[in-house]
Symmetry: C4
Subunit: 266 residues, 4 copies
């Protein structure tokens, strides 16, 4: 076996029990989590001032490792028959979602190094580093399952979201008409009233806007009772999809006759 092929196994998909591949995976996963935690804590007042230098060094180390990882992936991807051609194959590999995420994970650092960033764009660029979190998707069975559930239920979710949008427009227009005169600030226009509509129909209920006229309260009460059920639909769709997906992933491990685990079944 060539070095490239072995490297490809380690980086991308190894057989179960390949210890080295597992160690590399765990190392990169730990690095991602530590790095994301650092980016998050960096925004806390005082942290940057106190630990600024250590953070800078750790960030550089991380980016170097992620860059090496990225370059190695591109180099060894030709071991896969799909990306076998030296140039076009590598280009096709670079355009896969996971490779793009890997690129975005290192990209902001090099922008900072190469270009002088105006202070207004510093924060968004620093936050872009949080895209590294998506690198976790490669290793996490749970994120893959979530992605699959959302993909499988996309029709149901699309229908639900479309119906919710129409419900929201109707509900907000009615409430705007009823409350506009009493609260010209909070219900200044239909789009503004939609903020009330979503806060109410998702039952978040911050309490920053709510009807105060008797008619507005009657309407708000009706909307809450009837509409909350509708806005609970995406939750129901995702829940049932998730339960189905879990059952399917377990099915192989169970006896189809008695439902018990094969492993304890003899």
């Amino acid at each position: 076996m060539t070095t490239k092929k072995r490297l490809y196994e380690i980086m991308e998909k190894a057989e179960k029990g390949d210890l080295l591949s597992r160690i590399v995976d765990l190392f990169i996963l730990t690095l991602i989590i530590l790095n994301v935690t650092m980016v998050i804590l960096e925004t806390v007042g005082g942290v940057k001032e106190t630990y600024g230098e250590s953070i800078e060094i750790f960030e550089t180390i991380c980016v170097v490792i992620f860059t090496v990882e990225y370059l190695l992936r591109i180099w060894c991807c030709t071991a896969d028959t799909k990306f076998a051609r030296p140039l076009t194959g590598r280009l096709a590999f670079m355009l896969t979602p996971l490779a793009l995420i890997d690129l975005m994970a290192i990209f902001p650092y090099y922008v900072f190094v190469l270009v002088t960033i105006p202070p207004d764009y510093t924060l968004p660029l620093r936050l872009l580093r949080l895209f590294r979190l998506l690198k976790v998707g490669r290793y996490s069975r749970s994120m893959q399952m979530f992605g699959r559930v959302i993909w499988e239920k996309r029709h149901e979710l699309y229908i639900a979201v479309f119906a919710l949008a129409i419900l929201l427009i109707i509900v907000s227009s009615l409430m705007y008409f009823v409350e506009h005169h009493a609260q010209p600030e909070a219900f200044s226009s239909i789009p503004t009233t939609m903020w009330w509509g979503i806060v109410t129909l998702t039952t978040v209920g911050y309490g920053d806007v709510f009807p105060i006229t008797p008619l507005g309260k009657v309407l708000g009460a009706l909307i809450a009772v009837l509409g909350v059920g509708m806005f609970a639909l995406p939750a129901g769709i995702l829940s049932s999809g998730f339960v189905e997906a879990m059952q399917e992933s377990h099915r192989g491990d169970k006896c189809p006759h008695c439902g018990k685990d094969i492993s304890t079944h003899g």
Copy 2:
């Protein structure tokens, strides 16, 4: 085939793959969505002052197209055997829900043109134009499915809403009795207390009214724990109805033996 019959196919129900019919549908659908968006944005402060003229022109164009659409539908509806008679058939067609919605979509405009509206009635009439949104129902499978689910579950929903009304009366009367003396403003009467009841039982919880006496808090806590489950019923009913409806609409596409898609099944 006569022109009328062809027009009827284009406007109402064409076979799958009828390109012209699809284009007309998409054109009208786009117009509805643009027009509704305009009506919504018109309520935002400053928009009307700045873009008033363009809005007026676009509104007129829309109404003209919707009027032509409405008249064409009435003219060619006699191509359907149900509405075959020239006069009584057309009248029956005009009283179908979808035709009434089409009429309501253009009606406010002509009222404005023909009658001098007192300023107090301008806003409601302008908002009536949002009825155009219901025209989307003709094209949207998701809205039709929602309508069907609500219709199929109407008995369950009726029972749930009736029980919720009784629960709300009991809960609000108890809370009124307990909190009336401590907060004579917020709990001034049983109907006023119902506002608290609904805001609490739907778990919206704006925070504008809540019990402050110890007894009121104990009662409120009991009501929240036991009542929230009841008010989640309509959501549960709609959710399960929606999941059933989606499964039924998929059933035709699946192999009854293995549950896989027919299309991928060979």
Copy 3:
């Protein structure tokens, strides 16, 4: 058939299609709803002052009718073999839940007439008239179904409520310990903190109490994410019980082979 037997049929359980029985039922049901609506509206400021006399007259008429209804039920109940004995049978009938509700529906009125009530006890006695609402239970299939679902799921609900109580104690004790020093008013004791606990775990979230210390917020966040699922259990139990009950009540009407309505099945 004797008058008593016929009266019993009309008052209690007649065969389907007994028109007189249906009319009497509807008349009493309407009277209950009107009367309860009146009791509710009476608490609104100004209503009693303006319509006081009409309310008083309507109340008297209602009580007279309900009293006649109650006495007739007691008189004719001996037509039932269960309550056949003139004295002990009638006494047994008077102790059935529905007969006790009938008595409670008229009892407050006669207390007002016979005894001079100290002003402090006027409001509770007036509100006791709302017990009339429970008379609706005799006629409402939806309330009977709700009662049955709660009864059938009583073990599940008991287990859930017991577990929730223990969860609430643990959660409130932890939060009391963490937030007591920062907010000695809102988190003054464990029972006070339970108010926060219930408002949070049912996701009502009025916003009158919430943690303000960083540790309290971390704890509150963990409690919210993990505990909300537990407090949604009674809702889930009731929902599934209700869906089951509805399916059972429909089962008789459906073909067991194809699941379609017998009536449309031929």
Copy 4:
């Protein structure tokens, strides 16, 4: 049968119908509930000042009884073949979770008696007595069932919690970026914004923090509509697991052919 064996039966697991064992169980259960209630009420202002001495005496009695119970359990545990060896068997028994809970239930009292506690540590030590609540787990079928459901669904819950954590990080980072400048206090850092994220996504919505900029409101609305469904997942998982567990515990009592209770089946 030796005294030790009989004692073991009474304390740990007796056959059904063993009256003495049941009485002892109920006695200890009552004592736990009374004692926990006392610890909770002790935190209410004034209670300790007024009933301090009685509380102290009751606490001592409880601890003496719990200590005797604990020592008896350790003495007689050798009657079980698993813990048969006098020394190592007893040590193994002392390390079982239930025995550790029993020890923790009496431990704080002896610390108070033996060591002088600095006033800062008095409250946490007093609250540690609430661990006695966990002793209920030995007797409560409902707590055991809850524990089993959480254990059985641990994979699903782990996956859901992991995905929620990632969702929370993404959502909070976006919101931090959008609202940071408008509300530098409430959205001072990403970890602070997570408080908003959890309060919103669990739909608690206290109203202490919410977006105020238009962009923040649009983002908050999108997050609420799409994210609430995700955060409802643990509730759905627990609910379905609980329903399954209840059905399983009932299964033994039902006829597998018709689903009716065996007892009423003949």
